[in-house]
Amino acid sequence: MSEFFAMGGYAAFLWPAYAITLLAIIVNVVNARRALQQAREQARRRIATSSEGQSS
């Protein structure tokens, strides 16, 4: 197992390379989902305020 993590002496280069790739994959999913959530939330709020304006 420790031999696997040592990566034949390339561990210091290989694992950071895999780490930044995984980081990019995760961050982009999180950012995209958050953007959609916020957009839906804002749209909902706009609809709520505009329908209040109509009823009064």
Binding site: M7, G9, L14, P16, A17, T21, R33, A35, A43, R46
Partner: protein
């Protein structure tokens, strides 16, 4: 002709694209997740070490696919921007705008993973080599595109100005692709994307192809989610919004 225009009209229709994007997202996301996880395992564990570069060559499984993705995303962004510019299609502009941040991320990943490969193999993190320089220019194109959009308040003007920038930047794509052939580059020539036989055994090649396809599908899924957000933000007055957010 008639069906072409119907098709074109549907793809210009924000509510249609919004709903379609929502339906399609999982069909890209799940195969992407399976391919990426399998590809990472196969690349790190199953593929044999390289006879010259030992275990260090495994960086290729994250470097080459992210470099491929950075260029492919730019091509998608410029195509969408061009369609938006020529046919004044708002959804196309929304798609182009949704590409930029994802593309910038994977350009950074390709540069950093390349540097981490370069240090043990070439003895240096960075050289002002044609391929490396052109890839750095790609990052500046993405950042310029994002900054330009952020700097213009009027959405229509931001769309048009950034689309022109995206299209001008397309010049950089063939430079990236052929830099290793046109100049005496330190960067190795492509080993997979060649017309003749790939210069890799199948156990090494398969994880690379899995990562390539997996990350491409991943990009499609993330783009579709971002596109829906972008459409919602743009269609402020539209009545169809009410149905989809409640």
């Amino acid at each position: 002709m008639g069906t072409t225009w119907t098709w074109f009209h549907r793809f210009g229709s924000p509510p249609h694209v919004y709903r379609l994007a929502g339906i399609l997202t999982p069909w890209f996301a799940w195969p992407a997740a399976i391919l990426i996880i399998t590809g990472l395992y196969a690349g790190l564990v199953l593929a044999p070490p390289d006879y010259q570069q030992g275990e260090g060559f495994r960086i290729i499984y994250v470097h080459a696919p992210s470099a491929w993705l950075s260029v492919m995303i730019y091509a998608v962004m410029a195509t969408a921007a061009g369609i938006g510019l020529i046919w004044r299609m708002k959804v196309a502009h929304a798609a182009a705008a949704s590409c930029a941040a994802i593309g910038a991320w994977f350009t950074v990943v390709s540069l950093v993973t390349g540097m981490l490969w370069g240090k043990p193999m070439w003895g240096t993190y960075w050289v002002w080599d044609p391929r490396l320089t052109a890839q750095l220019v790609l990052l500046f194109l993405y950042l310029g595109y994002i900054a330009l959009r952020a700097g213009i308040d009027d959405l229509g003007r931001a769309d048009r100005a950034s689309a022109v920038l995206a299209l001008v930047g397309v010049v950089n794509l063939p430079i990236i692709r052929y830099s290793v052939e046109w100049w005496n580059s330190i960067h190795q020539a492509p080993s997979v994307m060649k017309m003749d036989k790939p210069s890799m055994p199948i156990e090494m090649l398969a994880p690379l192809l899995m990562m390539l396809v997996g990350l491409s599908l991943y990009f499609a899924a993330v783009l579709l989610v971002r596109l829906r957000a972008e459409i919602l933000n743009r269609e402020r007055q539209a009545s169809w919004i009410k149905e989809v957010v409640e």
